[in-house]
Symmetry: C2
Subunit: 789 residues, 2 copies
């Protein structure tokens, strides 16, 4: 660590002033970018949008990251938690040249500066937040909470990478961020890169002081040490002093990181390796620093009033206009830009070269680094199926063996991880521990099993952190899977929504290379929460994601183990998507041999001829449709009852594995055309559809189909408790007996002919209720059922 | 604080052993509850379900809470974070007698004990978790994360109440819990009760060690001090020693709480009042303590293997059966229960009386304490509307004045709070600060505004904490409102799902008195996120809640300020519901005088005759329907265009304020009957429906209606960015011009007649695009539009 010269400080300050000038310009100006003439109202945008408050702090961090990256030839990326400070990050990208390289018409000159200013938050321009459109970004700063988890996700398995992460003191109040601090217990200094958290205490949110800026300093220090960090404090409002302090803190932090890594990498996997206390920086500077101190008599700089647009009435109010001009000129733009608007050498002195620039680092455009996964042949992991419905397997356990092989085959590359909230074993994926351990840097005890410092199974009891880690990992060019209890996927509803928005936008940007899809395995699902009951029963995550961009979202409900394998294989090859796979962990009948499973997944929906009695091309009397493992079993059991008791009834069985197939072809790339749909479901025959989740989802995707008026859906209707598996389907009217009754009620002319059968079915339901109350288990004929044909 | 005598300790231990015995019995036994004979396989349940691991710890806490409640005559309730330890809480409730008082057939004797055992996790019995069915509970321990926020919510404005809160070390890893620690900065020792967090480090989750149990002790201590607590440690596995230590810690903590409260209440609102460091207890005992140490050669007690059912094969495996019997007998049941199964005096010595018992405290059945809110007359706050569509008001600001009056009128009672994630002012509710401040116990500065120690507006940048606080507040008998940005309501999707499940179940329990509804104001909505763009645009929270129990859920989309007032008035009077109100904060046309608004809300949907041209009873040619403020404006603008250009077309305008009206009458208590629906929408005329959110929601609620094939819905289809308000509706094809084109396309015979108008509308859309790119603002004829008739 060397003391900075006055010359270096003046270079850093020039860069910072330039970035601040450009940030203010973006918020306000649509003309006169270099202040070549006095500001006039027509130079001002008609709608003033943007967030000034955090921008000078972000500019300071970017400036100082530039210096250390350049001096140390670092590979670094930065996660900008306060990404609503878009003007700051855009300003820096333009200064370092990556913006103009990505968008050549926004060149690094006066003309480009004018475009940079005008396009910001302007219709047809660029969003006000750091977004996929921003070079170097892997994190949209709109919905706060995920910055630190994203940073860790980016650092895992990138041992040469430094991930700086700016955390706003507003964001620090959120739950996901608060939980993410403990990510350092899962980061291996040998195989992973480093995360440098920079907690920016500018003191205020939109309208309130922040908690962490208003607790006693010793309490804050204790908190950060409690998180396992050694905090370095940079505090002040005098730029020169803050530059000095920030440079010192950066150097200190990077030296310390290098030392931790060196020690760990020398010690290797030696169990005596130290528990690392990573450095972090606490940056305490005024909100809206260098902006207007007072506006209309109220303090603005250093208060919440600086959050967005400090001077609101610039177009109409000459005093505000003059104050804006003074503010802009306070950065002395004439020293920072030449007559053509190009940044001077002094401004650019700290900027790194080429791919070392934060806007050009390939890690932030992860698709450029992505390699296809080595996927094992499915036949190696498939279960044999001689006859359908005779053997049972736990689908997720079969999947676990497939994932284990991938884990083994990526042992050297280290670009595949499985995350989950303490449920990997519960979800029957524990074969994975034959190939890798569970990441863990905490204290260990003799009774522990499968923990390891370099494990690539990640378990923390926070769905938010799991999701954030995986997003960061994928966005920086790797592969992964998130396994979780189905009901608790809702915990990350908002996160997946933001990730889908990111992918939707990124797909439209030619310079962003496709990344691996985010794959969910939702298991321990609604029908088999025997142990936990009502609180663990919610199949609605599928409904949530299907509201989002259809080009991004896929939902699969494989009915058995082999189909799950085929779906997983497909999902792990896909790019830029969110694949939601819902599959059970309890023993489930095997229906399809692997070749048929693969074909079935490719088709997404198909007639199971062996299960029906409509004999191929014959028009059926009724269609029994199903999606999901438990519904498939109930439909098959209903089909068997009908074949036994009403042998002349032509029943067609259709299984749907890819829910989007039901959607109109025009609305989803997987949607069936109307003739394709009609060929499966007919246009006029009753369709009794047993669906895994909320029944109205099927109506909402299929309402435009010709046969929709004949569609009758059974599914989960929020009736649950701790009870037996079959009682769950009875409670929700999706059991085999009810389905047979539905057929009798809906096939014209059947009601009279099958009155006895209908009564027998109703009696079975009554018998069921009596039986479980006495025995606590399901009816023997249900528990012991298998496909009889 | 006095040292406990050996006698007291033996009484506490007897109670604890009894509770442990009863917990094990619930998991395993369906006969022979008192071990009157050797255990045989037929005494064992066929399905072994339940969570043993946490139960002995919960029993210890309950036992020791009993002692201090009894000795100090406390009013206390306990939030059991590890509520999956249902057997423990049920055991204690049965011991103290509240279970038998609530459910008389489960009496405190051998017969009742047999029922207690058998019903647990048995079909038709009780859930395995602490649930609404559990006396004394306000918290279901299924989805982890919300215990501490619930505890604070319960303590606010209950100055005489102690809320103990057990936090499992698994739950402590979740984001919401991690954020909730800072709730102590919002708790006023004068007007609020006390929260005593008890962090239970039993070391393991389902299958992994926990983070907080495996960091260095000094780091844990720093963390808890960083949270603002003074931790007291109780560590051990020797019962006698732990009893002593726990009793000391409890006494110390309660003495300290009493001192903090006394000092603060003496000092009053003196600004020099101290920043309180509240005590908390860290309880470090083995998971599955007192259970089987080793099973089949593997360590179980003190490891994750004790999480659920430590002995799994009891029915089939004689060795396991013997081990279970030894385990049960290790509690010496013969000392704890008399021959009739009644707990002995020794066991009951620590149990408090009457409503001091944790299972009987009225705070945990909050409806018993609930008083109706004093609601101001709507006329006092309504805006005058002489003619529709001429004046503009910010609806949420008008609502804010109404809420302010309520805040004022509850200043003495203190049973109404407004929570929000730093958005109360942004959401234009800041008139509230005229009646109360924002709760804040942190350091203050001279520039601060509206912070106060006893404020009843609660702002923390965590939707999770806001939601948890409000749930706890409502469940203990008070009223409130949660205002938040619409898009970020998804952050609490899972929490509201759990609360709806709670309410659904609680409504079915006659002994639970109805509580105030959870009211959401979703604003800063999808159509007016000018500043923030795509990441802030998501109207899907409504879709999420509408999947849940219809008896609980209501969704309102008031089209103007007066309608919002009428909706809020209705919501604040309702009970046991979740009311989602979506309303804008931007200036919005006033359409209805307050009397009409009130009638409109009562009807939920109605024909706006003044806006249409179908003149009352005449059959219209087309129905223009709308739900939401922006859709209503676009529909009215389209209706005006049609009236001007196609005066002979009979247009009916229908506004829907209560979305459930569209659902079938059989499926939702607010659903219209078919004749009612048909009277509004016709059975065969084209209906062009402009809806606030995802358009398919309308199809999914209305698909059974006769006229459904003629229903054409426009809404948000995930097309957004930072742009102008009108550009948002154009991007999503919901603008007035597009609606007119839809009418022309769908009314039979109109296409030819109105070709010119259709072209003019298409041209206007093109003009719009050109205009915003040049000017950055909306077309003048849109920006200046008002209802012209």
């Amino acid at each position: 660590m060397t003391a900075l010269t006055a010359h270096s400080i003046s270079q850093l300050d020039a860069h910072w002033r330039a970035a601040n000038y450009l940030a203010v310009g973006q918020i306000y100006l649509m003309g006169n970018p270099l202040l070549a003439e006095p500001l006039r109202p027509e130079h001002i945008k008609p709608r003033l949008l943007g967030h000034w408050g955090t921008s000078p702090g972000l500019n300071l961090v970017h400036t100082h990251l530039n210096r250390v990256i350049r001096e140390r030839s670092l590979e670094a990326l930065c996660v900008w938690g306060p990404g609503h400070g878009g003007p700051a990050v855009l300003a820096n990208s333009w200064l370092e040249g990556t913006y103009g390289e990505t968008y050549p018409d926004v060149s690094r000159d006066a003309d480009g500066m004018a475009k940079l200013f005008r396009q910001f938050s302007f219709p047809g321009g660029v969003p006000s937040h750091v977004a996929p459109e921003t070079p170097g970004s892997v994190h949209e700063g709109g919905e706060l909470g995920y910055a630190l988890a994203h940073a860790y996700g980016a650092a895992f398995d990138h041992p040469g990478l430094l991930v700086a992460c700016v955390i706003g003191d507003g964001e620090a109040e959120t739950g996901p961020l608060a939980a993410s601090w403990h990510s350092n217990k899962f980061l291996d200094p040998v195989h992973d890169g480093a995360v440098l958290p920079i907690l920016h205490l500018n003191g205020y949110k939109i309208a309130n002081p922040t908690v962490l800026s208003r607790i006693p300093e010793d309490e804050l220090d204790a908190l950060l040490r409690g998180y396992g960090h050694d905090p370095l404090y940079v505090t002040g409002s005098d730029p020169a002093q803050v530059h000095h302090a920030m440079a010192r803190a950066m150097d200190h932090a990077l030296d310390r990181i290098a030392l931790i890594q060196q020690e760990a990498r020398t010690a290797g996997t030696d169990p005596g390796r130290k528990y690392a206390r990573w450095p972090m920086i606490v940056l305490r500077t005024p909100k809206g620093w260098t902006g207007p101190a007072i506006v209309d008599g109220d303090p603005v700089e250093g208060t919440w009033r600086a959050h967005q647009v400090p001077l609101a009435g610039v177009r109409e109010n000459p005093a505000h206009l003059r104050q804006l001009e003074d503010w802009l000129r306070s950065y002395r733009p004439e020293e920072l830009f030449d007559a053509d608007g190009r940044p001077t050498a002094q401004v650019l002195a700290c900027v790194p070269d080429g791919e070392h620039r934060l806007g050009a680092v390939p890690y932030a455009n992860g698709g450029r680094l992505l390699r296809p996964l080595p996927l094992p042949a499915l036949d190696q992991h498939a279960v044999p199926v001689d006859k359908p419905g005779r053997t049972l397997h736990e689908p997720t356990r079969v999947l676990g063996r497939f994932l284990t092989q991938i884990m083994r085959d990526t042992a050297g590359r280290r670009d595949f991880r499985v995350v989950g909230p303490d449920e990997t074993a519960s979800n029957r994926l524990d074969d994975l521990y034959g190939a890798t351990g569970k990441a863990w840097q905490g204290i260990t005890e003799a009774t522990d099993r499968n923990l390891s410092r370099d494990g690539r199974v990640m378990e923390i009891l926070s769905e938010h952190v799991c999701q954030g880690w995986l997003e960061g990992y994928l966005l920086t060019g790797r592969h992964g899977l998130f396994s979780t209890y189905e009901a608790f996927a809702h915990i990350v509803d908002s996160m997946v929504g933001q990730h889908i928005k990111w992918l939707k936008t990124a797909r439209e940007l030619s310079w962003r290379a496709p990344i691996a899809s985010l794959n969910y395995l939702l298991t321990s699902h609604v029908w088999r929460q025997d142990n936990n009951g009502f609180s663990h029963q919610d199949p609605g995550f599928v409904d949530h994601v299907l509201n989002k961009s259809p080009e991004v979202v896929r939902v699969y409900l494989p009915p058995d183990a082999n189909t799950l394998l085929a779906v997983a294989d497909h999902a792990l090859r896909s790019r830029d998507q969110v694949n939601v796979i819902v599959a059970g962990k309890q023993p489930c009948f095997d229906w399809l041999p692997i070749d048929e499973a693969r074909t079935h997944v490719t088709r997404g929906a198909g007639i199971w001829e062996w299960a029906g009695t409509d004999h191929g091309s014959r028009e059926p009397d009724v269609v029994l449709a199903c999606a999901g493992d438990v519904p498939t079993m109930e439909v098959l059991a209903a089909a068997a009852l009908l074949r036994e008791h009403l042998p002349s009834l032509a029943v067609r069985v259709v299984n749907v594995v890819d829910i989007a197939r039901l959607m109109p072809h025009e609305e989803h790339p997987h949607g069936l055309t109307d003739p394709e749909y009609d060929a499966l479901f007919t246009t006029d025959k009753p369709v009794i559809f047993a669906y895994h989740g909320y029944p109205w989802l099927i109506h909402r995707v299929a309402y435009r189909r010709t046969g929709h008026p004949q569609l009758h859906v059974r599914g989960y209707k929020e009736s649950g408790t701790t009870t037996t598996p079959f009682d769950m389907v009875v409670r929700n009217d999706m059991d085999r007996y009810r389905l047979v009754m539905d057929v009798i009620d809906r096939v014209p002319g059947l009601a009279g002919r099958a009155e006895g059968l209908r009564q027998a079915m109703a009696d079975q339901r009554i018998r069921h209720h009596a039986w479980i109350r006495e025995h606590g288990t399901d009816l023997p004929e249900v528990a012991d059922w298998s496909w009889p044909y």
